[in-house]
Amino acid sequence: MKVNGTVPVVEGQPVLSDEEKLSLRNIVEADRTNHAGRQSYMDILFEVQKRYGNHIPQAVLGEVAHLVGTPPAQIDGFVSFYTMLSTRPRGKHVIRVCTSGPCHIAGAPAVVGELKKLLGIDLGETTSDGMFTLEASSCLGLCGASPALMIDDYAYGNLATGDLVRILDAKRSGWPLDSSSTKTTVKDTIKGEQRIVLRNAGLIDPENINEYIARDGYAALKKALSMTPAEVVQIVVDSKLQGRGGAGFPTGMKWSFVAREQSDEKYVICNADEGEPGTFKDRLILEGDPHSIVESMAIAGYAVGARIGIVYIRGEYVLSIARVKKAISDARAQGLLGENILGKGFSFDIEVYSGGGAYVCGEEFALLESIENKRGTPRSKPPFPPEKGLFGKPTLINNVETLANIPPILQKGSEWFKSIGTPSSTGTKVFSLSGDIVNRGAVEAPFGVTLRQIIEDFGGGVRDGKRIGFIQTGGSAGTVLSSKYLDIPLDFASMKAYNVSIGSGVVLVASEDVPLLPFLDEVAHFFHHESCGKCTPCREGTLQVKAIIDSLVNRTADPQALSRLHKLLDLLVDTSFCGLGQAAPLAFDSALRNFPEIFEQALGESHAPEACGEE
């Protein structure tokens, strides 16, 4: 037994020098300036991590806790929540290989295997020369170029296992390797496409505000400022625009909820934490047309009475973060943000907050917690963000794609917008098309488009003349479908009518060669990995789902495996705290419904292993 009396110093922990302490203090203070007096632990810790070789040592984190005024255990809880932060020593370069759905289909397991072999390490390990750390990652939004990986801030896509040696060698010798292979270009408009959201992406230089202005940019803001806020809200209400993040909540209604709140402070937040596996449409907007988001947020701020806007962008989207930041400062320079915008007496400014590698932060309350420098765990609702959101103030949260619709709606009117799409779903939807098809990429089409049109007309059909094995729509939190569903018109009503999820617009096509159960195993892994861990059903249930799918893949399932799976899926829907756990069963439920024979076969071929005496 150790006798206490003085503070025991944990052995092996170096004491920080005064210079180190000063430099940490400078980082913290610089961050305060960047966030208008607020703080972003994420930004501070990213910077600190960079200085200390891709990890945050104990003494350093202790000092940061002291500087930001947070209990050490809390900041440890924060760091350990976000996968992009690490307190464990890592290599000079961190390789994050995407293992989610689209990359899985495209050969991610082989890429991981090859990297393990080349580096001589397992996932989560660092090479003995301290050069590389190998990590598996959830979707990186590079699904148009899968399989893909990131090394530090650079993305590499369309990987063949043979490419890996060259990439590693280049990194070792410090050559800056071109990562253009991942640029999901927005192609020329294809037949049937109608571009509202993607009106500028690929056509203008996103870093040049004048090119945006030349294409009617900021005209909608000008127009909005000549109207009353209530009139602006009404146009959005009338347009019947629905949220494009996945839930489809009427945007105008959300705006009016926030607008009617009385408060000294309100916030407009752009949810750019795009993480739904298979989704990369928001990245294309952020990278290709960042001013459309800046303009929309300013309009939203005017309409609901907010002065502060925040774009919460997932940390992996390095280029998006840079472009949005540049767009904000350019807009500010032209008097389109800041005090007294366009001389109309309206003041509004925008800050960027980074995510840290946590899918759940796309859930609106988890996102707010994250901006408040906490672990991204959801809050209970009601109250909803329009009443009590960021820092307890009324908050409007809209998805990137939703916002990108706003300027055209203001310009052309709600009647024009309603004329596009279907009665239940107005306007267009950007679909992120990936998997075994000829043309992968984002495609924007009016609601009501069918899967067949998306896959055959835009996608050019399944590669190598194969047949469709299965299609996943809506992402990992979406539905697994057979080709029976090809001619169903896709809109927000299709979930109710046909059990087809549209979600964030993912269309992931797997050819007949892709086995379903290992794919579902990856989906199960994803949900378990991304569960925040707060509530029992999601934390424990997703892991048990994974165990059952594992046993089906390995043909070791016991006879009750499927009935247990059904019970678990119902439990997740019924008792999970937030949307993550509630939506996790969709893929499995729909797969069980559409491909029952695959499960039955796996069960039939299973031989439960001899029970080994546990405990």
Partner: protein
């Protein structure tokens, strides 16, 4: 203030319930239906994490958490449908799948809420397999507490109490998903971080994940050693709570039975910490009078509570000058026993074993502080002791729970034991000492003595009602014959923090402050029996004040044995000898 009443239908019956309450409260308090909860602690931890309190609400797609969802007009709630029962049961099974199934040997088995709920929900088998690959190591770094992360169900009650009630924030959730764990900074262990050892986390833990550091085997061993003279002291708050461990109602005064039990277990002497509580009043009272007279640092703050002392050392090193230099009654007792008493009885102090029975887990830490070896230093030169013969003033600390456990192990029928007295001379005490066990008690005891010493008059009314009760911060003015003494009392460290920040800002109006680490004072200590009775603290407090009222002597300075020890040994309060043996010093633990 008028609260609107809503009509809510619960299981088919209408109830009028106030607006703003949760479904859980409506069900429990108005419909008499016990919706099960694991992670919920009213007002402290309302996270909705465990998902055991789910109910059906008409119109809602999913099951709703009764603990966080508020009632609404016309709401229809169903608390016991097959869907609800199955979901609760299944969530419980998910928790049990990874729980160590060692209930036979678990410390908390008898009172484990997890085990109780599993039984109530009718879980008869767990159809899920264990998914964790390894058992996690225990945190044994603390001198007071042991954590077994394998038994943690991630309810977060400990975190909420540590943060919201105690404002210590020693623990938080780290990791994500099923790697989530309650942990200290960098998993350094409770003994290496800000933890003040109060044990409030242990009190609220629904499972056996947090327990006190077990000292029972060492005490049995000492009792079996013919060469040792094993004496025991019992703190004031123990006697009003230990009966609960034997099924006696909350608030039972079990002083006599406790003394009888300890004597039958083989303790050579059964003494009373109350004796040194009176001694503390003499020392601290004179310290206060001295500071008032000589323009010393004010306010003076009490130092009886070792959790509070470590809190001050960790978070408010600048106020340490304000903290009384008096040792706590437990430590004074150890020193007095191994100096005065051993000398008087002619016993080799090395043979004396002092066992404390405390309502407190922090006392286990306190006894190991390097300053707490005064008796050894007293004897070192006199007896020519070698450095390696060093001994602590107090050898072992048992919590109230551990003491009860030993009584059970000894096979004693506690409830039917006769009432017996403490042994002399360290067994005499006053009502002033007894009330140390409740928040405000030290203040009241000090006021009874200070008034009479300062004014030379007899106090007409002994009860200072303004400092009694369970409010977090109490303040009052006391008229010392023309001089106004401004005093404050805080219990729970979150409340202590408020008063300390006031001192740091130079805005404290007080002369004297009593701080007790635990809510309610020692009677709500981390070492007390774990009770699910929301009124238990009130019941224990009323027992304490009953005991005080029934004492023939109620002022510390009238304790004849205390008067005797000054005459025979210390000379007078705050004498040089008293300073060597009864006072201590503190260290700044704020260094990161």
């Amino acid at each position: 203030m008028e609260t609107r009443l809503l009509t809510v239908k619960i299981n088919g019956r209408d109830y009028q319930v106030p607006e703003g309450i949760s479904i859980l409260k409506a069900a429990r308090d108005y419909a008499g239906i016990n919706v099960p909860t694991l992670c919920y602690l009213e007002g402290i931890s309302e996270e909705g994490a465990c998902a055991l309190c789910v109910v059906e609400v008409k119109g809602a797609r999913n099951l709703q958490r009764a603990c966080v969802v508020k009632v609404a007009e016309g709401m229809e709630v169903l608390t016991s449908t097959p869907r609800v029962r199955d979901a609760r049961k299944l969530n419980m099974e998910l928790l049990l799948a990874n729980h160590p199934k060692d209930c036979f040997t678990c410390d908390k088995s008898e009172i484990c809420e997890l085990r109780g709920l599993a039984a109530d929900l009718g879980v008869r088998e767990v159809e899920f397999t264990r998914t964790r690959k390894e058992w996690l190591p225990f945190d044994e770094t603390s001198l007071s507490l042991v954590r077994d992360p394998n038994k943690c169900v991630l309810c977060r009650r400990c975190i909420s109490v540590c943060a919201k009630i105690q404002s210590v924030n020693a623990i938080d959730v780290v990791g994500r998903s099923s790697d989530s764990a309650v942990s200290t900074f960098f998993n350094a262990g409770l003994g290496n971080v800000e933890c003040v050892n109060c044990g409030q986390c242990l009190q609220v833990c629904p499972t056996g994940a947090i327990t006190e550091r077990d000292e029972i085997p060492m005490v049995w061993k000492a009792l079996g050693d013919a060469d040792k003279v094993v004496v025991v002291q019992t703190a004031p708050a123990v006697r009003v709570a230990i009966g609960e461990e034997f099924g006696m109602p909350g608030g039972t005064q079990a002083t006599g039975k406790m003394a009888a039990a300890l004597r039958r277990m083989g303790f050579a002497k059964v003494f009373d910490t109350d004796f040194t509580a009176d001694l503390t009043i003499m020392e601290e009272g004179y310290e206060l009078i001295g500071r008032l007279k000589n323009g010393g640092t004010l306010p003076l703050i009490t130092s009886c509570s070792p959790g509070w002392v470590k809190f001050a050392e960790t978070f408010f090193p600048k106020v340490l000058d304000h903290v009384s230099s008096c040792k706590s009654p437990q430590q004074m007792f150890g020193t007095v026993t191994k100096t005065y008493w051993a000398e008087k009885m002619g016993i080799d102090p090395r043979k004396v074993v002092v066992v404390s029975i405390m309502p407190c887990t922090a006392k286990k830490f306190e006894k190991e502080r390097p300053e707490m070896k005064s008796a050894f230093h007293y004897w070192k030169d006199k007896m020519g002791l070698r450095d390696d013969e060093v001994f602590n003033d107090v050898d072992y600390v048992l919590t109230t729970r551990e003491a009860a456990q030993m009584i059970r192990e000894a096979g004693l029928d506690f409830v039917h034991l006769p009432d017996e007295d403490f042994d002399k001379p360290l067994g005499e005490s006053t009502g002033a000492a007894v009330i140390f066990g409740a928040t405000g008690g030290v203040m009241e005891a000090a006021l009874r003595t200070a008034y009479e010493v300062v004014t030379g008059k007899t106090l007409a009314k002994l009860d200072f009602m303004d400092v009694r009760g369970l409010e977090g911060i109490k303040a009052t003015d006391v008229d010392l014959d023309g001089t106004t003494l401004k005093v404050a009392v805080a219990n729970g460290l979150g409340n202590a923090r408020v008063l300390m920040e006031q001192i740091e800002r130079g805005e404290s109006p007080y002369h004297f402050i009593e701080i007790m680490c635990c809510p309610g004072g020692c009677l709500g200590g981390g070492g007390q029996p774990i009770s699910h009775d929301p009124d238990i603290k009130k019941k224990r407090a009323s027992a304490i004040y009953r005991e005080d009222a029934g004492k023939p002597i109620r002022k510390s300075h009238e304790n004849s044995e205390v008067q005797q020890i000054y005459k025979e040994f210390f000379g007078e309060p705050n004498s040089e000898k008293a300073h060597h043996l009864l006072h201590t010093e503190y260290c700044d633990r704020s260094c990161k």
